[in-house]
Subunit: 253 residues, 2 copies
DNA sequence: CCATCTTTGTGCACGCGTTCACAAAGACAT
DNA sequence: ATGTCTTTGTGAACGCGTGCACAAAGATGG
């Protein structure tokens, strides 16, 4: 998802696969829930079910972190929570700025899930002078003019962009110039960033379009199945019509 | 990202790879921008740059849809917009319901990017009786009691869940029972759904944790590089310390 | 101390996705 | 018509991610 460099120079350090990294938060969430219920140990099978993944995959994922399980018993919940947290860098505090405090930015600022994992909203930034000083989620909004100073004063390395698409690239450049090296982008634009900066994007519209594709496919197959059931004896009379019009104009009401 | 079934029984119809489907919206967005600037044709190289992908990948992606390019020239923008829209199922209207009209749900309801791509917010649903009837983004919020009726009356097949995590699974089950077959989940939970239902999730917390991992890795490598530069002659005196403590306690200020 | 039973950790095979590299296709000029 | 030049479409190689299946590890009970 990193837009800047799709080509990754391989996680050299201890080489945890990117796919594994993306699942660690999932495991952590499931483990935290178990921890809150004071469950002492958990098997790969149980934890995998809770996280919605294959148990072999989970075990392989954990094997990249080291041998933290006990054969015949399972994994110690508390210990694993600690190890994964440490691996993800959640044992330290990450100050985050949100730029663009509109509908979405305000919702993000109000989101409780931030603080629960070591992420702290250090500042809210918006270009609208009318918003400056107004508190959102208890934090006063600051003006874009002070962006660089805010970043540096707070030692921020993670920025969230929730501005309109047109402003995103420019905001991104200012963030990066000020020292931000990780960006979470909600604006529907491709951000170009220098090497060494990670970008991840969240795009509602893309997710919906992917769902629509599968939805259409389901409807198409259904219609096809119906057509087949009806025209069992019917012979193809007008085939070879080209690559177009393969899906008949059967729209689900 | 589909949580229900990670294992996909292969897109049988004409077999467009899942990875390609996920990129089509990206191409479509770039093409739409070109179309608005009245650019008639575009080469794979240019379009790939605009979409932030490799040009060979883009050409291969398009090859799954058919041969829509002209060698020596490139692709006809308008034609390609139409073909991709058709492939994604965006030539028809998709009524969508949003369940859970809190901070996030309200932001989603206010989002303009919905309508622009054939998605129409058919209804807003919340469990809070105090919200019933109140308009959000011009649409009156309806109570959860009527969920099934709303789904059926509007022929909704795509649902968005923006409730607290605790309510998500239950809401999901009601949606599915009422006929919804595609779900976009914003709640931080694993949803279990029957076969034939697609689930995609958007999880802010997970994205941030992935960024934190890389951020930590960057800081670690930097510290390592510094340490190496300092201790060029220094011999390892206390190695073989086990799999722990590999990253020294050097935290970025 | 030994047998049994559970569960981890991983070698291996397979399939998907990515990228390179190039032949073929066609536009365009002469 | 012929040649040149651009750009597509794709065969092939490679690498990553996934999941099976099982041996090794260790707990537990007698
Ligand atoms: N609302 C959603 O649910 C949603 C969903 C997906 C994506 N998005 C995207 O997120 C972004 C924000 O959406 P929104 O609905 O909150 O829009 P919005 O118009 O409500 O808010 C945008 C905010 O950004 C501020 N802004 C504009 N230019 C800026 C700049 N240069 N620097 C700092 N701040 C600036 C504006 O003052 C405004 O407060 C958009 O790109 C949108 O496409 C929104
Ligand atoms: N706000 C964010 O930026 C953000 C970001 C990421 C994830 N999330 C997740 O999205 C979800 C919503 O977040 P939020 O900040 O809007 O929370 P919120 O508390 O503001 O809103 C939740 C809404 O859901 C409604 N609700 C509760 N139970 C319901 C039910 N059974 N049926 C229908 N509606 C019900 C509540 O009445 C409330 O209006 C949460 O799961 C949260 O973790 C939010």
């Amino acid at each position: 998802m990193a837009t800047g460099r799709t080509h990754r120079p391989a996680t050299r350090s201890r080489g945890i696969p990117e796919a594994t990294v993306a699942r660690l938060p999932l495991y952590l969430r499931a483990l935290t829930a178990l921890s809150e219920r004071s469950v002492p140990t958990v098997s790969s099978e149980e934890l995998a079910a809770a996280a919605g993944v294959n148990s072999a995959k989970l075990r392989k994922d954990f094997s990249y972190l080291g041998s933290y399980g006990t054969r015949g018993v399972g994994y110690d919940v508390e210990y694993l929570v600690y190890q994964i947290s440490r691996e993800l860098g959640l044992t330290q505090d990450w100050p985050v700025v949100i730029v663009g405090i509109g509908n979405l930015g305000a919702a993000l600022a109000n989101y409780g899930g931030f603080a629960s994992r070591g992420f702290r909203v250090a500042a809210l930034i918006d270009a609208d002078p009318a918003m400056a000083g107004k508190p959102v989620a208890g934090i006063p909004v600051q003006h874009t003019d002070d962006l660089e100073k805010i970043i540096k004063d707070n030692g921020v390395s993670i920025g969230v962009i929730a501005t309109p698409a047109g402003a995103a690239q420019q905001v991104c450049e200012r963030l990066v110039a000020a020292g931000v090296t990780s960006i979470l982008n909600f604006a529907p634009t491709v951000l170009s960033v220098p090497d060494g900066v990670d970008v991840r994007k969240v795009d509602l519209s893309i997710e919906l379009q992917i769902l629509a594709f599968h939805e259409q496919r389901k409807a198409g197959e259904e219609a096809l199945a119906l057509a087949e059931a009806e025209a069992v004896v019917e012979v193809s009379e007008e085939s070879g019509k080209g690559p177009d019009g393969d899906v008949p104009a059967v729209m689900p009401a």
